[in-house]
Subunit: 110 residues, 2 copies
């Protein structure tokens, strides 16, 4: 699997998994997070390799459609860039600790 | 209509409208943004008042379900609070302008 594609799918799965069915979630999680092969998933669920493949391909398309509509991953990346820039600003005052705390809270929200 | 509920629905509609069908979007937009009555929408689309009512109720439930799953409105509110606090920090340096610019960018992302 191409590393870049895997990383993107991991993120999309992370952002939109709540919109998937339990079966879609299981297949995606085994394939992308636990690095199972299609054959291993097929065996685990007692279905054909093709069925697993079709399900995962369909799910990937759904995730890309959700991203096209909601752009959560894109916004996450843009927000991250802005927060990095904020972190780089020379903030010198007794409030530095509070500044860092707030930026950390912002990051955790994504 | 209760004002608080209207405000919430406006926000949910704003966040999740890309996931609705064109008809759902039209009804919601006329009802919540343009303040049409159910009767006026029914007349416009040549359907029964009850059909419009059912469609809008169903859409409201869908929006609440999306919010339960993705929490975009909740996170938006939390992010807004954090950004307000950041704005309140005594940032004194030649970078103040850049600080404000970055916070403004963060706000626009939501």
């Amino acid at each position: 699997m191409l590393l870049e594609k895997t990383t993107r799918m991991n993120y999309l799965f992370d952002f939109y998994q709540s919109l998937l069915t339990p079966k879609q979630k299981s297949y995606m999680s085994l394939y992308y997070l636990d690095d199972y092969s299609l054959g291993e998933i097929a065996e685990e669920y007692n279905v054909s390799r093709q069925a697993v493949y079709d399900n995962i391909k369909r799910t990937e398309m759904m995730l890309e459609e959700y991203e096209q509509k909601l752009q959560l991953f894109k916004k996450f990346q843009e927000r991250k860039k802005i927060i990095e820039k904020l972190k780089g600003l020379p903030f010198q005052s007794e409030m530095k600790e509070e500044f860092d705390r707030l930026l950390h809270l912002l990051e955790k929200l994504d």
